[in-house]
């Protein structure tokens, strides 16, 4: 199996706080990794470092053998946990705008996802509800045929009844054979069936890592149950 992402002794310090303190990890092609931990455990920091949006204090990141930079960014799609789309644009304009930055943007996929998510193309981004704007962000991220997809809290701001739609969208439009995906979340139950590996992050360090099904067998419970146990 080809590795898409490799982390070696990854560390990040903000002032006197170590947000990440020595992470070693390998993510292979076809893998969906659940990055799990409470607020402030380092999930977003880890995704930012991988996406090249921040520099590590120490350690190494390789994406398809490349250090984070313009080359790796062209193959990495990140769903950020902040709003990053101009509010005055319509959904249609936002799609055109974002797609102009990325060669791997797939317009057909974007159209399918917009329809699946019931987003109105001519709405202004600033007029979308919180949940709709979260959906749009997901559409813009998933529409790229990127090798590495990073989703930071894709279910944040999505009401429980709509979460299945998001999970369905991820399942149908993710190119399993050619990419790897990391999903950071604390809403474990709604999405845990998609994970094949899970990593529990605690104060910037790996508290537990393994195959989701093997952990279910070992702990005799769901990943959500294990989450509660690890972070109790």
């Amino acid at each position: 199996m080809n590795s898409i992402l490799e982390l070696e002794g990854l560390k990040k310090r903000y002032g006197s706080i170590w947000a990440l303190n020595g992470i070693d990890l390998r993510v292979d092609e076809g893998e969906v990794l659940g990055l799990l931990g409470p607020n402030g455990s380092g999930k977003t920091t880890m995704l930012k470092l991988i996406a090249g949006l921040a520099r590590p204090t120490d350690g190494r990141i390789l994406i398809n053998g490349q250090k984070p930079g313009p080359l790796s960014k062209a193959h990495t799609a990140m769903l950020p946990d902040v709003d990053h789309i101009y509010r005055w644009m319509t959904v249609r304009q936002a799609i055109d705008y974002v797609s102009s930055f990325y060669e791997d943007f797939d317009h057909d996929k974007a159209r399918r996802l917009i329809e699946l998510m019931n987003i109105e193309m001519d709405m202004k981004v600033g007029h979308l509800s919180r949940g709709m704007s979260e959906r749009l962000k997901l559409v813009l991220t998933m529409s790229r045929n990127a090798e590495l997809i990073l989703l930071d809290e894709p279910l944040g701001g999505i009401d429980p009844t709509s979460r299945d739609k998001i999970v369905y969208a991820i399942a149908t439009e993710y190119r399993w054979e050619h990419s790897a995906m990391i999903i950071a979340t604390h809403l474990v139950r709604d999405i845990e069936s998609l994970f094949d590996k899970v990593l529990f992050l605690k104060s910037g360090q790996i508290a537990l890592y393994g195959s989701a099904d093997e952990l279910r067998e070992k702990y005799n419970g769901s990943v959500e149950d294990i989450f509660k146990e690890v972070f109790a």
Binding site: Y168, A171, S193, L194
Partner: protein, 134 residues
């Protein structure tokens, strides 16, 4: 679109997928020699990771319930005896679950038989007091 995951996430999902496929085969919803959905289609239908489906298919192949043909896909076994054996295995598992449940409610062997018989006769059971229980 169905509700979210059909699985009980507290036990390994690949085992539940195996059980589901075995049930479909034994119930005749999947016939002998029939092609199973591709790993990807099954993964999308069930909202699970394809690696999980792959694992379930591999384990079913080890148990000789399915076989793979290179480049063609995965197929239900053509071996009638094998399928009958698994059907019996599923039946005794169901019987065990039922009987265990009845014992834990404090019923004795004869009473359990009575419940099964009346249920088979009437489609509902009658308690010892003669009142119908649904």
């Amino acid at each position: 679109m169905t509700a979210r995951s059909v699985f009980d996430e507290s036990t390994p999902i690949y085992i539940q997928i195996m059980d589901m496929i075995k049930q479909r085969i034994c119930a005749g919803q999947l016939s002998r020699g029939e092609k199973l959905p591709s790993v990807r289609d099954m993964a999308i239908e069930l909202r699970v990771n394809p690696n999980t489906v792959q694992r379930a298919y591999q384990e079913l192949e080890r148990e000789e319930m399915v076989f793979t043909q290179r480049g063609m896909g995965t197929f239900v076994s053509k071996d009638k005896d094998k399928i009958d054996a698994v059907r019996k295995e599923l039946a005794s598992r169901l019987a065990q679950q039922f009987v265990d449940g009845m014992f834990s409610l404090g019923f004795a062997k004869e009473q359990i038989k009575h419940y099964v018989e009346t249920y088979l006769e009437n489609g509902h059971t009658t308690g010892p007091d003669g009142k119908e229980r649904r």
